[in-house]
C-alpha cells in the first residue's frame, strides 16, 4: 500500500532511487499532456481530453490526477506520495483534424490495455503530432465544392445551380484556408471567404450560370459553417464544462457573424 501510486509497469522497483521515480512520474505527465495537447488542437471535446489524460495517468499507476482543460490551455497535476506535481500547457492554435483525435484515442486504448511503455507511447504520440493531413489541399477544396453542390440539391434547388455553387464554394473554402495562413487574425479569413464567395456567386449568376442566386449563395457558404464548434459547444455544456462550452459557443457565434458580415457587404453592393 505504501507504494500505491507509482508502481505501474515496473516490476520490483523498490530498488529505484527517488530521482528515478520522480523522473518516471514526470515522463508520465509528459505523455498525458502531449496526448491532451494533440487532441485539443485537433478539435476533440474538452471532456474527452480530460478523460483521456486521466486514463493514461491511471494506466501508468498514477491513481489520483486532476486535469483542467479549457480551449486555450491545459492544467494537469498528479497526486503521489511526493509533493503534488503540476504542469501547465498553453494551446494557441486549433484546427480540425479528426484523424489525430481518433489516433490518440487508439493510443490511449493501447496504453490502458498495457501494450505500451511510457517511452513507446511518447514516441507514438510524437509521430501522430507530426502527421500531415491525410487528404491533400486540393482534395479538401474539391470536397468543399462537392458539399456546396450537394446542398443546392438538398435545399430543393434546380440542377443548373449546382455548378456555380460548386465553383464559388471551392473559392470560399480555398480562401478560408489560405487567408488563415497569411493573416492570423481570427474571423478575418471567414469574412474574406464569405465576401469573395458571395461576389463570385453573384458574377457567375450574372454570367448566366444558375437561376436562383439565394440557393447558390447558401450552397457557397455551407463549407464555412462552424459545425465542429457548434457540436462541441453543446457537448461540453452538457458535460458540465461551462467555461469551454461558452468559449466555443462564442467562437461559433463570432465565426457565423463574420460570415454574415461578409455576405452582407456583398448584398449591400449589388
Amino acid at each position: 500500500m505504501e507504494r500505491n501510486g507509482y508502481n505501474g509497469g515496473i516490476d520490483n522497483d523498490w530498488g529505484d532511487s527517488v530521482d528515478a521515480l520522480l523522473e518516471r512520474q514526470y515522463d508520465i505527465m509528459d505523455v498525458s499532456l502531449l496526448a491532451g495537447k494533440i487532441m485539443l488542437e485537433s478539435g476533440a471535446e474538452t471532456y474527452r481530453v480530460e478523460d483521456t489524460m486521466m486514463r493514461i495517468a491511471l494506466s501508468y499507476g498514477i491513481e489520483e490526477s486532476h486535469s483542467f482543460v479549457t480551449p486555450t490551455g491545459i492544467m494537469f497535476s498528479i497526486e503521489t506520495k511526493e509533493p503534488t506535481k503540476t504542469k501547465l500547457m498553453r494551446i494557441s492554435s486549433r484546427t480540425t483534424d479528426l484523424y489525430k483525435v481518433s489516433a490518440v484515442n487508439a493510443v490511449s486504448r493501447r496504453i490502458s490495455a498495457g501494450e505500451l511503455t511510457v517511452s513507446e507511447a511518447y514516441k507514438e504520440l510524437k509521430s501522430i503530432q507530426k502527421a500531415p493531413m491525410f487528404f491533400s489541399f486540393l482534395i479538401q477544396v474539391a470536397a468543399a465544392a462537392s458539399t456546396s453542390g450537394c446542398f443546392v440539391i438538398l435545399l430543393k434547388g434546380s440542377w443548373d445551380n449546382v455548378l456555380p455553387a460548386m465553383l464559388a464554394g471551392a473559392l470560399a473554402y480555398f480562401l478560408v484556408l489560405k487567408v488563415a495562413e497569411i493573416v492570423p487574425t481570427m474571423f478575418f479569413s471567414e469574412f474574406i471567404a464569405a465576401l469573395a464567395g458571395g461576389t463570385a456567386a453573384y458574377f457567375l449568376f450574372q454570367m448566366g450560370l444558375g437561376s436562383d442566386l439565394d440557393r447558390i449563395i447558401v450552397g457557397t457558404l455551407i463549407p464555412l459553417v462552424p459545425g465542429l464548434l457548434i457540436t462541441n459547444a453543446v457537448r461540453d455544456l452538457m458535460a458540465g464544462h461551462f467555461l469551454s462550452g461558452l468559449a466555443k459557443g462564442a467562437e461559433a457565434l463570432l465565426t457565423s457573424l463574420a460570415i454574415g458580415t461578409g455576405i452582407a457587404v456583398v448584398m449591400t453592393l449589388i
Partner: protein, 147 residues
Amino acid sequence: MTILTNMLFSFLAAASFGIMFNVPKDLLIKCGTVGMAGWMMYYFLSENNVDPLPSTVAAAFTIALIGHVYARVYKTPVIIFTIAGIIPLVPGGTAYRAMRSFVQNDYNTAINLAAKAFMISGSIALGLILSDVFYQLILRRKAPAGK
C-alpha cells in the same frame, strides 16, 4: 426519385465534410451513412408537414444515436460521426435570408427569420442532449461496462 436523389446527395455531402475534417479514410462511408440517416429523417418529417423544429430535433437525435452506436462498435470518438451529419441541419438558408432582410432594412422579417434560425439551432442542441441521455440510460446499461 427525389428520395433517391436526397439519399445520394446527403450521403455525398456528409462524406465530403468528412474529407474536409480529415476523418480517417475507412470511416468516411460510415460518416456518410450517419449524415444520410439524419437528413432522411428530417426530409420525411418535413415532407409530411411536420414543423421544422421537431423535425430537426428528431434528425439530430437520430444522428447522435447512430453516432454513439458506431462509436462503440468501431471504438472511435463519437464526434467523428456526428459533426458531418449535424451540418445539413444548421439553418444556413434561414440565417442567410435573415441577413439579407437586415441589409434591406426589412427588420420585421429579419427578426422573424433570425428567431427561427435561433430556435432551429436550439433544436439541434436538444436533439443531441436527448440522444445522449437516451444512450446513457438505456443502451449503455445493457452493454458491458468499460470504455
